[in-house]
Subunit: 202 residues, 2 copies
DNA sequence: AATTATTAACTGCCCATTCAGTAAATAGCG
DNA sequence: CGCTATTTACTGAATGGGCAGTTAATAATT
């Protein structure tokens, strides 16, 4: 048995969320219980409820964390690239990259997407996240279009298209990937997206 | 209390699956129990286990049914269209249509997609389904490409692209749709797909 | 002394599944 | 046709386990 640690909320809460995340990957949403998380972390189940007064809170906290992670990952690097043409290339490379697709375990992401169908709060969080990404792309595309780096009629639709294709790619990887490396088809998808963005298709 | 009906397996089994489907839409995978399905159908829980010896079987039976429905819906109509150019248009119209996207309740579909991450059998069923669709498109595209209706370098990748975009569209509808009609963005997506298929982009 | 971290014991609920039983339909047979 | 045996449809009651959540107690920190 692990000795009592007597840590504080600052360290315990993330620890519990990490444990939750791990159990979620192994067991899925249906198979994950407070008891199992506790066992995984070698702590008492009540401790989890001490920090997150119920399971709903726990879930929302993890989703919040995941979305933060998603938003922060790599994104800020682009501010440093002053050359817009370079920035456009780097942006597209990132969005169609394996690393980007694995910012969060796809199984876990998927599970929460699914929950958003029935849980208003989860739905809002994810809608916000996707809108945030779309709006980011939109703002960038405004610049690129003005400068002739891309040629589009509707920057917003262009941004939505890229997000749509990006999400479709997750599907492809899971159901049609068939052992082939993610990058293979991601490259194809990216090329099509680039072509659409550069030929006034959208 | 409803009078005993003494129906047989042929009628009861689909009845139970339909009830399961309904409860699933309302309650989600986590909230759906044999007890709730029984209550919804005004039958005894044991009757469900009498027909499907456990919950796993029940789930697999519903997935089977859904996939059959998905495969049969609309698909066979195309055999009748002899003019290939017309058939291509009809095919693309179908795949990017609202009706097609709602062949099965998206929430339910999504739930099973999610389960495929952790359940080998479910995973296989869905992989088969997607491969089936892709292969169907592939065979069609071979014909269209030969006849100059489309211009692609790689018919298989083209088919995979269309499936990918189609699935991405589900995402878009759920997270970025924002009350706008499905057709709005589906039309945009279709146009991009058509452009990609007709200009050797893929 | 007060707050915070942690465990412990317990509650009541719901769950899938089992087993045993009853009632109706059907099939086999004279 | 009519009687019985078997199968099939269905209910009831019970079991055992896991679940989220409560409340109270203890141990460490501040």
């Amino acid at each position: 048995m692990a000795a009592r640690k007597n840590q504080n909320a600052e360290t315990r809460k993330p620890e519990i969320l990490e444990g939750y995340y791990r159990v979620l990957i192994e067991e899925g949403l249906e198979g994950t219980s407070i008891g199992k998380i506790a066992k995984h972390l070698n702590i008492h189940p009540s401790l989890i409820l001490h920090y997150f007064k119920n399971k709903d809170n726990l879930r929302l906290a993890l989703i919040d964390l995941m979305i933060c992670k998603f938003k922060s990952t790599n994104m800020l690097n682009f501010k440093s690239l002053d050359d817009h043409s370079e920035r456009f290339t780097a942006l597209m490379d990132l969005i169609f990259s394996y690393e980007w697709s694995r910012t969060v375990d796809p199984g876990v992401h998927f599970g929460f997407y699914y929950q958003s169908f029935r849980d208003e709060k989860v739905s809002e969080l994810f809608c916000d996240m996707f809108r945030w990404l779309r709006d980011y792309l939109y703002e960038e595309f405004l610049v690129y279009n003005r400068e002739g780096i891309i040629q589009v009629n509707d920057e917003l639709k262009a941004a939505e298209f890229v997000v749509t294709l990006m999400e479709g790619l997750e599907f492809h990887a899971h159901f049609l990937g068939q052992g082939r490396p993610f990058e293979d088809f991601a490259e194809t998808a990216k090329k099509i997206a680039l072509s659409a963005l550069q030929n006034k298709t959208v």
